[in-house]
């Protein structure tokens, strides 16, 4: 008997931590048909990684839907160009499917180049492009020669795997851009931030910290970045990889070709952002920088401590459930919950690997449920069974939590507050606090017949109504009243 009732094929994807052994979890395979996976497709994976590049033109070669549903959903902010907020598509029709869409694609690139003059194109292939056999690479190559700008094919046919394949396709596309620009950095200490998408403006909480350490960020992959910055990113001395699921592949490729080492970091949570700063300083081995890092950490930690303590006192001991796209964020969240005194009772991801789950099983407490590629039915049962007070996930899961009376914190594209850096963790703590401690959860979900609220203000009104209606069921009212107050 599993932890919850589910499909036979899913049983190995849900385990409970027990003892000190790593939890062996089935993962990274095709989603089960009919199980309502929360995962998206290859195209989606590629799109979320590349889309934050603000001045590139992102053209979707496919029917209109793929472009419609991904139009400006990334939630990443820009300090300048807004081209990435537009949705471009070849809007393939029946005739394109029958006779091929290459001509239309070539025409679209030409048209859009003339109109928007972007420094580069990303051209995404979708399911049917792969099936009808349009030669995306050839069209892009020829367009690139004509226009004199990079026109990069993103091989992201939806059905060719899961989101991980999309990340890879995006990394390959970025790798094509890399190394084509020249640059002389202003600081001897240079880094790239990989897997930093500037959701809600996260990046801008982090950049000043590096600046203070005299570390120059050459390019952020890809939040608020420009094509030009990606092109010269090979000039950096170190890659800091945050979202490891999406970007480790690129980091390895950059290490191989340009000899740039990488370190895994996270900018979320006081502990993690502090480690990220220390890791950077240690890498450069510069004593002044190390001292500066410690100074920043001490100062910032002290600055936010009162806020963190205030929220912590209101949420400590509550139980959190985590369901993320990738494992890196999930792991960072476990530590962040530790900082505000909360326990994690469920942790899951859409695309975690064997190693990710092994790692997760070491850091979570006994009894925590670990789940891969969850679906709404499983999440519903688990949230109830594990007694979660809060779910941290994305929009699709938000309303499920609400229907179950569980507080919710959006950690994905939709949030409007920054969560990274020292200010970010305060925002996060505040959001967790206001949702868990909202009075809405104390309202009776279903009205108790004959009840009237026994608050001071309403006593009078309640009496009046009672009198007016000739209400005589005082015992019922009292009994009901108890349960409300």
């Amino acid at each position: 008997m599993g932890i919850i009732k589910t499909f036979d094929e899913r049983a190995d994807h849900i385990k409970q931590k027990s003892g000190n052994d790593p939890v062996p979890l089935a993962c990274n395979n095709e989603s089960l048909a009919g199980a309502v996976s929360q995962r998206a497709c290859v195209y989606s994976g590629a799109r979320v990684v590349l889309n934050p590049l603000t001045d590139a033109l992102h053209l979707v070669h496919g029917p209109i839907g793929c472009a419609s549903y991904t139009w400006d959903i990334r939630g990443s902010s820009t300090s300048g160009p807004t081209l990435y907020k537009k949705s471009f598509s070849t809007d393939m029709k029946v005739t394109d499917v029958i006779f091929g869409g290459e001509k239309k694609l070539a025409g679209a690139i030409r048209e859009l180049a003339a109109r928007y003059r972007p420094p580069a194109f990303f051209v995404y292939s979708t399911c049917i492009v792969g099936v009808i056999g349009d030669d995306l690479k050839a069209v892009c190559k020829s367009a690139s020669e004509d226009l004199g700008i990079p026109v990069i094919p993103v091989m992201s046919e939806g059905f060719r795997g899961n989101k991980n394949e999309g990340y890879k396709a995006a990394c390959n596309a970025l790798f094509e851009l890399l190394g084509t620009g020249d640059y002389v950095p202003t600081s001897p200490f240079t880094v790239n931030l990989l897997g930093e998408y500037n959701v809600a403006g996260d990046l801008w909480n982090v950049l000043p910290l590096f600046e203070e350490m005299n570390v120059e960020v050459v390019a952020s992959f890809t939040g608020d970045s420009r094509v030009e910055e990606i092109q010269r990113a090979h000039k950096a001395k170190l890659n800091l990889v945050q979202c490891s699921g999406s970007m480790t592949y690129l980091a390895k490729k950059m290490e191989e070709k340009y000899g740039i080492p990488y370190r895994r970091v996270s900018f979320f949570g006081s502990g993690d952002i502090s480690s990220a700063l220390r890791t950077t300083a240690e890498f450069f081995g510069d004593s002044e920088m190390m001292a500066r890092a410690e100074e920043i950490i001490a100062r910032e930690t002290a600055r936010i401590a009162p806020d963190i303590e205030r929220h912590k006192s209101r949420v400590a001991g509550k139980k959190a459930a985590i369901y993320m796209g990738g494992a890196a964020k999930a792991v960072s969240l476990v530590r962040a919950f530790g900082e505000i005194g909360m326990d994690v009772v469920i942790i899951g991801t859409q695309t975690g690997s064997r190693d990710d789950y092994k790692n997760i099983s070491y850091i979570v407490k006994e009894g925590t449920v670990i789940i891969d590629d969850a679906n709404p039915l499983e999440l519903k049962e688990l949230l109830v069974k594990q007694g979660a007070d809060l779910l941290v996930a994305g929009v699709k899961e938000r309303f499920l939590a609400y229907k179950l009376g569980v507080a919710f914190c959006d950690f994905n594209h939709d949030r409007t507050a920054t969560f990274e850096g020292f200010d970010g963790i305060v925002n996060f703590a505040r959001e967790v606090d206001i949702t868990i401690n909202s009075p809405v959860w104390d309202l009776p979900v279903e009205r108790v017949p004959g009840v009237r609220m026994r608050t001071e203000v309403e006593t009078e009104i309640g009496t009046e109504i009672g009198t007016e209606m000739g209400c005589e069921h005082s015992s019922v009212i009292d009994a009901g009243g108890e349960s409300v107050v």
Partner: protein, 438 residues
């Protein structure tokens, strides 16, 4: 003129999206897409944003193997898992571009599945062909309406009921309004409303949260649509008439198509038709609502006079709002929809002579028309927000999708009451606009 090849900021969605809006209006129905996993996830996301409700849509999760060798095995597995996991009474199967392009015969696969699988025999399975490249979400909606009655409607004993088919996408509150109006009319048991998303996309918070939201048109009612004395499709004058046409052709059920009841005249037309069908006069309460609508229009007529407005979105909704603007003395100078439809253009031009009426356009083209016509007010889905921001023109959000404001499930612009609300909203936006403009 702008692009010939590229679409910039789409004003439409794809066909499978429309099918979901029909399937979710059937009692105990679970939708499944035959295609890659992303389609269902993206459309769930899109609809969850709009309705602020959980939206479950299954997928056959086609992979490379399925794409090469055919997806029958995946679809059968998916159907079985949906039946086991959700215990639905019906399953709506919509194809996607991938399934159609690899040439899967979904109707055949479903037939085989129902023969092979005893657990599936009690479940109504509705195959629908909605290749994304063949049309917009509105056409997908229409296709699914037809697929449902084609699969479920059965000849039986003639009943004395009438079918009210919702021929285009309206909000849960709007369906509720139509239902309660018919209840007040005294013909609550006399009508079949299909599809009915009034509860499924606007579920009350309750102690128990069922796997499939409660509500929707009962299957028995849909089956009985073949035996009704009449079908009335509202909002089916551009797309959406197919279910009624099918019932007329196959079962001889007389079919009338009306536009959405937005504005005085179009609501009068619906009421007149319902009086004819029911043989009863409009309840007094609604006569008074009508009077209030007239009152509201009179109250603001000078304020709104001649305000140059661009109305866009789903065809029926855009035409309905444009019609109201004409009645109010406003100037719907641009009327646009993302689906291609000569009928839309014809109707719009007749309604508002001299206006630019555009079909099959994107927001790049709508934006150009907005600039050309010195537009002062935008009315339509939130997807027009970039034009609103760039041109500094207020946008009154009406219709699907609306991701950045609350209450989409409860938006009500239909009937006398709904139109009155819309009139007040329009007037208030213009007041604010004038205040800001100094």
């Amino acid at each position: 003129m702008s692009e010939n090849y590229a679409t910039v900021n789409p004003c439409s969605m794809c066909m499978p999206m429309g099918s979901v809006m029909v399937f979710k209006g059937i009692e105990g129905c679970m939708p499944i897409f035959h295609g890659s996993q992303g389609c269902s996830t993206y459309m769930r996301l899109h609809l969850a944003h709009h309705f602020r409700e959980p939206v479950d849509i299954a997928s056959s999760a086609l992979s490379e193997k399925g794409a090469v060798y055919g997806g029958a095995a995946n679809l059968k597995k998916g159907l079985l898992n949906v039946i086991q996991g959700y215990g639905p009474r019906a399953v709506g199967v919509a194809t996607t571009c991938l399934a159609e392009t690899i040439g899967d015969d979904v109707a055949q696969i479903v037939r085989e599945f129902q023969q092979e699988e005893p657990r599936a025999r009690e479940v109504a399975i509705i195959p629908t062909s909605t290749p994304s490249y063949s049309g917009s979400h509105e056409e997908g909606y229409n296709e699914a309406l037809k697929a449902v009655v084609r699969t479920l409607a059965k000849r039986g004993r003639p009943n004395s009921r009438f079918n009210l088919v919702i021929g285009s996408i309206i909000s849960p509150a709007e369906v509720r309004h139509l239902k309660s109006m018919l209840d007040d009319w005294g013909c609550g048991y006399d009508r079949i409303i299909f599809p009915d998303i009034s509860e499924t996309f606007d579920a009350p918070l309750a102690a128990d949260y069922p796997k499939i939201p409660e509500g929707g048109t009962p299957l028995a009612d849909i089956e009985d649509m073949a035996n009704s004395r009449e079908t009335l499709t509202v909002g089916g004058s551009i797309f959406g008439g197919s279910a009624g046409d099918y019932l007329e052709r196959e079962f001889g059920v007389h079919h009338t198509i009306l536009p959405l009841p937005i504005g005085v005249e179009q609501t009068d037309r619906l009421i007149g038709k319902l009086e004819e069908i029911t043989g009863l006069g409009l309840p007094e309460k609604y006569e008074r609502d009508r009077g209030r609508l007239m009152d509201a229009i009179v109250d603001c007529h000078k304020l709104v006079a001649g305000v140059r407005t661009a109305v866009y979105g789903d065809a029926e909704m855009a035409l309905g709002v444009a019609k109201l603007l004409c009645e109010m003395g406003m100037d719907p100078r641009v009327i646009a929809t993302g689906s291609k439809s000569p009928e839309f253009v014809r109707r719009g031009e007749k309604m508002a002579p001299g206006s630019e009426v555009l079909s099959g356009v994107d927001f790049s083209e709508i934006g150009e028309a907005v600039a050309r016509n010195d537009i002062e007010l935008l009315i339509g889905p939130f997807t027009g927000r970039q034009i609103s921001k760039a041109e500094n023109i207020p946008l009154l959000r009406v219709g699907l999708p609306n991701h950045d404001r609350f209450g989409s499930s409860r938006q009500m612009v239909l009937g006398y009451e709904g139109t009155t609300r819309l009139v007040d909203e329009i007037a208030n936006v213009i007041v604010e606009m004038n205040e800001r403009g100094g």
